[in-house]
Each structure stands twice: as C-alpha cells, then as structure tokens.
C-alpha cells in the first residue's frame, strides 16, 4: 500500500502550486492514471482525505481520468487496446509491442480559487 506515500507527494505539489499562485483554495485536482502505473485509483482516493486534511486543498475534488492500456505493434505497426498482462498486438498477435498509454500517474491540472486583491479589486 504505497498510495498514501504517492498521495502525500501529490499534495506537496498541489500545495506548492497554490502557494506560488497565491490561491485561496484548491477546488479540483485532475490526475490521469493507467492500470500499469502500479497505483490503485480507489486506494489513492481513500488516501486523499488523510493526505489533504488541513491543507489548502482539503475541500478539493479529486478527479481521476482513467487512461486505457494501448500498445503499438513494432511488427505490423497497428495500434490496439490491450490488457495489463497481455500486451500483445490485436491485429497480428505479436508480442513485440510498445506501450502507447496505460502507465501514467500524472498530475494533469489543478483548479484554484483566487484571492481578491483589495487595492485593485482585480483577481490575481
């Protein structure tokens, strides 16, 4: 169960971004994840309230975008969807493929609520 460690690392990044941009709070966090990342999305979601408690992101919504496992065949060149433990080409059945997607665990974006500047009345 390494998802808590990963979630804490995610929170560090989010807090840094919020601080640098002078945000009041973080409203959403979008993470892209594939089955070959080694991270279980549900466990990451479970870890999130623990990791985010007391931070600027404690009320943020954690959005997880699931990316499918896709491979490109080095023999016939075609691209197809695959299972995490069966990365073979659907077209020609060859095992010599490269991964196109499915191993991501990436912080894609964060949405911030900005602090209103009292002097100018402008949003930062």
């Amino acid at each position: 169960m390494h998802e808590l460690a990963i979630c804490q690392s995610l929170m560090d990044q989010v807090e840094t971004i919020a601080y640098e941009r002078n945000a009041k709070s973080v409203t959403s966090i979008v993470v892209a994840m594939g089955p070959l990342s080694g991270v279980e999305a549900q466990l990451l979601k479970n870890a999130y309230p623990i990791a985010s408690a007391g931070t600027v992101a404690e009320n943020a919504e954690l959005v997880i975008e699931y990316l499918p496992v896709r491979v490109k065949c080095t023999q016939c060149g075609s691209e197809s969807e695959a299972l995490p433990n069966k990365l073979i080409c659907k077209q020609c059945g060859d095992w010599r493929t490269t991964l196109v997607s499915g191993d991501e665990m990436m912080l894609m974006s964060v949405e911030l609520e900005k602090v209103k500047d009292e002097k100018s009345g402008l949003m930062h």
């Binding site: 390494h2 080694g38 990316l67 997607s101 191993d103 609520e113």
Partner: protein
Amino acid sequence: MCDTCGCNITHGNESLIRPGGKLQKTESGKEAVTVLHSLLHENDHTAKHNRDHFDQHSVLAINLMSSPGAGKTALLEATIQQLDSNIRIAVIEGDLETENDAERIRKHGVKAIQIATGSACHLDAHMIHQALHNLDLSEFDVVFIENVGNLVCPASFDLGQHLNVTLLSVPEGDDKPAKYPVMFRTSDLVMISKCDLLPILDDFKPERAKGYLRDIASTAPVMELSSKDKSGLPQWIDWINQQIEIRKTYLEQHPVSAGHAHGGHEHHHHHEHEEIKA
C-alpha cells in the same frame, strides 16, 4: 519523461489538455493550472540526482527486486564470492526491520548499509540519497540495492539505479509475471532463482514463465540460477561484467559535467545527516 519539454503529453492523454478538453474549462474567478508532472515528481527528481551521482563516480547501480524470500541476499552472497575481486562492491539493504541482511553481506568483507524502512513497503529515492551520504562512491564500481521484498510497491519508485533485476523463485510459481505485470515490465533482467528445486517443484516450468513475460511485451533476458548449487552463476557474472562495460562506454560518450549533479556540492558533506549504521 522529463516534465519540462512537453514529451509527457502523450497520444494517450493529449485529449485532456486540448482546448475544450476536460482540463481547460474553468469558472470565472478560478484559475486552471496545467501541471503535467508525475505524481512522484519529487521522488523522480531525487532519483535523477542519485543517478548523476553514481555516474560522476562511474558506479553501476543495480536494483534487485522480488517477493520476500526469493533469494536476493543469497544471490548477493554468491555474487560477492564469484565476481572478480578487482570489482569493488557495496550493498544498500532495504528491509522493514533488522540489520540481518547487511550483517550477512558484511561477513563477506563487503560494505553494506542497512535502511530500515519502518512500515514503508518500498525504498524511495530519498532513502537512497540518505544512504549515499554514508558511502564514498569513489571506492566502488558496483552498488547493489536490495529492495524491500515486495512485488508491488517498489516497481513505482525510481531510485536512481541503472538497471532493475527481478528474481522469481521456483517455489513462487511460474505465473508471477502475469499477476504482477507492473513489476516485471520494469525489469531489465529476470532471474529464475532456486532452480535447484526444479526437479522437486516440477509444476514450475521456466518456459511458461518466459511465455508470461512475452505476454507483457518484456524483452528482458531470463536466466535460471541457483545460489545454492551455483548453477547459472557464470552467466549472471558475465552479465554484470557486460553491464559495467556498457555503462563505461556510455559515460565515455556522455560525460557527466562535474558539479552539475549537485549544484556544486560534493557528497562528502560537512553538515550533519541522520546517521544510518554502516
């Protein structure tokens, strides 16, 4: 992927950040910030720093992974005995508790640093960085990192190693690559260990294990070895020697700029670090 040049925008995720994509919409008064960093950005950064440090001293770093009890320490002991004595070895041991493995290595006259991870199920780049403070890399040619016995978590954490070796011991069963594809996909070499047990545990078929590895598109070579009866050891020793040469050639062609890795500071620090028993 590097997090800086945009190479992390892949065919798989580009639809998310395209204008009108999910990551672009935002309400007024809010700001959407595109990040595109790995969730382990900080770990990956430290891992790169570790790798630069190994490279500055032309040290080859090999990360050994397996389930608990697959024979990582026994393999290291056999390796120490068989490897040319001109090749200077150090070992970084990762376990939840005890100094047992480090003590086994030290009995062979080899420097070993034990990292006790407490409850952590894996080593991470920061732990290795800390261990490197207790290791003068100019004295070594190869550093073996014996990861925590676990086929799940260690696969996600780059430590700064050059190569991953995964052991699959005969008593575990030949379908482990199908069950733990993330781990076996990261392997540069898969070693079937405890092969002296093959005649007894004859439901383990090395060919079947290789088949499961091909199913996950692994091009890693597979070796069969027994640290006990020493069969297969010469092949493993040859592989290590080969990898040392490959790394040397690589570094001759891609020299590491001095000072770059550490922003100028060498690793023999004068400041205090938490002591790891060495």
